[in-house]
């Protein structure tokens, strides 16, 4: 059995940033990821990363306070303000750090990091590298991890988090390339396993963003927080739901309905297309629902007036995605878009240093919820979240000195491995006739249709009974086939159980929350209700089903006010 002082699960931005922080403190660290780190979903982030640098024309008066305020307001006041403060205070520093490590940001004429306007922000605050920001940052961190010779376990998928007596012992993992099952003992485990977009239909997320990390933490007894807050991105390509970054509107793109109107004037006339995501997404969905859309159910994102030069220079990826997926050149034709699932605001409950209820177990990045995004994340804030808190988690671990004292508990790990082994055997010898792909498709359909942008008590109840039905059918899966090596059938089937359980948590949380806040919009409770609902939803796994509780929101500087744009 291999062992490491610190094991990071997830090779995205959050995971790698944490690993670098641990390595820089001279500790033994390894990164495990079910896809090679550079294939992580962080590479798909296009638009940029926020920090109040004040480099852009018109951004001179920006400050961390303004950034924090925009974030809190964007979150519809559900974010924990102390945590938001930390993020915006450290933002500039981590960006400079990334730049010093080689991140190839786009530049202003003076040679500074270029910044562009983004939705819900008062100043142009989003640092960018064309429309490939996430990808170029990812490669930068991957390069830096090579520099530090950080041990990688690529294409190793964690199947279980081992916790005993409130103490994290390690993980049980499956090696895709060989099919071998192994346990890894560690002093500390950090989950940086990303979001759960694939639970939803019409998701912009990578195929591997099933959020299995959240599931393993949940089953190990760690509470999940604010799971009902699911972000829908206003603009995804019709059909494939590939993202069209907010930067397209940041650079000046128009949203047009079938009457040729810039309909955002009816929703947020002051900000127009640059309203916060939840509002723009609802606006588009409203246009679609009320029939002011084109035949394929899309509205148009029109970039033509930006001119070829600007599009090629600032939005090359958007253009190539349109060409490859729709055969449309945005230089010549408007892009048909529709809203799609995009981001998980909720996640593993943790504090500002990523610490969770379980000693030695940390969470960071999109899978975590230290609560900076509250009910609605602002564009450009989640990349920032990954690197700021990645660094903090790494530093916290090395400070805390965990990982040195605890000696590997081989017996407990072997027992856990035995459990996983038994469960896999069950999958392979299933006697039912339910098709995992079919269940997954029905799940995705249910979530997007019944627990999507607009929610309603009665419909949510339907969603819940459908999810319960699916959970029942999951117990009657057909046998998984083939050998252990690179067996997608097995990994997808094993993921599916967790996806169903989290869908249940999302739907139940949404049903309980009788108000509209941020991305959570109830047709039957259209107003925000700070008296009853200014609190975080917490959910813990129990044998009889999810156990809900609530936790107060940290309000420090900014009293909740009506969110007006």
């Amino acid at each position: 059995m291999e062992s490491h002082q610190v094991l990071i699960v997830g090779g995205g931005l959050a995971g790698l940033r944490a690993a670098i922080a641990v390595a820089d403190a001279g500790r033994d660290v390894a990164v495990m990821s079910q896809v090679h780190p550079v294939r992580s979903h962080s590479v798909a982030a296009q638009g940029g990363i926020n920090a109040p640098l004040g480099n852009a024309e018109g951004g001179k008066d920006d400050s961390w306070e303004r950034h924090a305020y925009d974030t809190v307001r964007g979150s519809d006041f559900l974010a924990d303000q102390d945590v938001v403060e930390v993020m915006s205070r450290e933002a500039a520093e981590v960006i400079y750090e990334l730049e010093g490590w080689g991140a190839p940001f786009s530049r202003t004429p003076e040679g500074r990091i270029a910044q562009r306007p983004f939705g819900g922000a008062e100043f142009p605050r989003t640092c960018y590298a064309a429309d490939k920001t996430g990808r170029l940052l990812m490669h930068t961190l991957y390069e830096q991890s090579m520099r530090r010779r950080i041990r990688l376990y690529p294409e190793w998928m964690v199947l279980s988090l081992v916790v005993e007596n409130g103490l994290c012992l390690g993980v049980v993992a499956y090696h895709m390339l060989t099919g071998e099952l192994a346990c890894l003992a560690t002093g500390s485990v950090v989950f940086a396993t990303g979001g759960y977009g694939q639970i939803y239909g019409r998701s912009t997320n990578s195929q591997f963003n099933t959020g299995s990390g959240m599931a393993h933490a949940y089953y190990a007894g760690v509470p999940l927080k604010d799971m009902e807050f699911v972000q829908f991105h206003p603009t995804t390509l019709i059909g494939s739901n590939i993202l069209v970054t907010e930067a397209a509107r940041g650079e000046g793109g128009y949203l047009i309905n079938n009457k040729g109107e810039r309909f955002m004037k009816d929703y947020v006339p002051k900000l127009m297309e640059l309203g916060p995501r939840d509002i723009v997404a609802r606006a588009i969905q409203t246009e679609i629902n009320e029939g002011r859309c084109f035949d394929d159910g899309s509205v148009y994102l029109d970039l033509r007036h930006l001119g070829e030069k600007k599009i090629v220079e600032r939005l090359p990826e958007v253009r190539s995605n349109c060409l490859h997926s729709l055969g449309i050149d945005p230089v010549k034709r408007p892009i048909p878009v529709q809203p799609g699932q995009h981001y998980s605001m909720g996640g593993i409950d943790c504090n500002v240093d990523g610490e969770t209820l379980v000693k030695g177990f940390y969470a960071v990045g999109e899978c975590a919820c230290a609560s900076v995004h509250g009910a609605n994340r602002l564009g450009g804030n989640s990349l920032l979240d990954t690197v700021v808190f990645g660094r903090r988690v790494g530093r916290k671990i090395t400070e805390a000195g965990t990982g040195e004292s605890s000696s590997p508990n081989g017996k407990a790990l072997e027992r856990a491995k035995g459990r996983v082994e038994g469960w896999l055997k069950e999958l392979f010898s299933g006697s039912g006739d339910e098709e995992p792909a079919q269940l997954r498709a029905e799940l995705k359909e249910t979530t997007i249709e019944k627990c999507g942008i607009f929610r309603d008590g009665a419909v949510l109840k339907e969603a819940l009974s459908k999810v319960t039905e699916l959970q029942g059918r999951y117990k009657k899966l057909r046998a998984i086939r083939g050998g252990r090596k690179f067996n997608h059938d097995m990994t997808r089937a094993s993921d599916l159980g967790g996806m169903l359980d989290r869908a249940e948590v999302i739907v139940r949380g949404a049903l309980a929350r009788e108000e509209s806040r941020g991305a959570h919009y109830r047709m039957d409770f259209k107003a925000r209700d700070d008296v009853r609902w200014l609190k975080h939803t917490m959910v813990q796994h129990a044998l009889e089903g999810p156990r809900f509780s609530y936790k107060p929101v940290a309000v420090t500087r900014w009293k909740p006010e009506v969110r007006k744009y």
């Binding site: 896809v35 550079v38 979903h41 798909a44 080689g102 490669h139 590939i242 729709l326 090596k485 067996n487």
Partner: protein, 240 residues
């Protein structure tokens, strides 16, 4: 959705530990408008043959997972429209010249190893201002192309020099080296140049251009390699 046509996907199947030899399996699929080869393969995985092994993730051409050999050309499966391919038969194989692990999945470890050999990271002095290093848009534009690399391994697999000599660093690693040598902020160009200055480094490229033809990101590794060579030749003259 409108079904545009039916396509027979012939997919390479091989598990070296089990099968005696490779074979191609045929699957008939209904092509909907906009359907990519990756979507076709995922359909096979979901519905027709659950044991198919392939790599995929982002499905939008940025993660570099789905590099394959489609109808005899190097492609990203997620960026290849089935409709756009001629004929009713489309055949799909793994990246040639890389050891097959299973079906369309090849062993990328040697490739990543090569990339790791060229000091593929920035070595910079800390910025004097305590802020960012200044880099003009012109300086940035020099590395525009090279930073675009998604490490998909296509160029490496396409270069005849890697076919016969496993030690050749290959176009991707060399492009990575160039990306840092050419970065105005970097201070370790000399060390990096020393690493690529070998028979298995820049000097092995025979300007075959397979790499530049195949790269899905339209990167031209040949250009990067030739630039490295010029730097080595002129650097040599300077050091005399």
């Amino acid at each position: 959705m409108v079904i545009e046509k039916k396509v027979i996907l012939e997919v390479f199947r091989f598990d070296p530990e089990v099968d005696k030899g490779p074979r191609y399996d045929s699957f008939t699929i209904d092509v909907k408008k906009g359907m990519t080869v990756l979507e076709g393969l995922l359909h096979i995985l979901d519905v027709q043959d659950h044991s198919l092994a392939l790599r995929f993730a982002c499905r939008e051409g940025v993660c570099g997972s789905c590099a394959m050999f489609i109808n005899g050309s190097y492609r990203l499966a997620c960026q290849t429209q089935l409709e756009a391919l001629k004929g009713r038969r489309v055949w799909v194989g793994p990246l040639p010249h890389m050891p097959v692990i299973k079906d369309l999945v090849v062993d990328m470890r040697p490739f990543f190893e090569k990339v790791g050999l060229v000091m593929p990271w920035l070595e910079a002095l800390s910025a004097p201002s305590g802020k960012e290093h200044l880099q003009s848009p012109q300086q940035r534009s020099i590395i525009n192309e090279a930073v675009d690399c998604i490490l998909c391994g296509i160029c490496h697999s396409s270069c005849p020099m890697t076919w016969t000599k496993k030690d050749y660093l290959g176009p991707a690693a060399l492009t990575k080296a160039y990306r840092f040598v050419a970065d105005s902020r970097d201070v370790a160009a000399a060390n990096r140049l020393a690493l690529v200055n070998s028979e298995d480094g820049v000097w092995r490229c025979r300007t075959v251009f397979n790499c530049a033809e195949a790269c899905p990101k339209n990167i031209n590794p040949t250009d990067a390699i030739e630039s490295l060579r010029r730097k080595l030749v002129s650097g040599r003259r300077k050091s005399r």
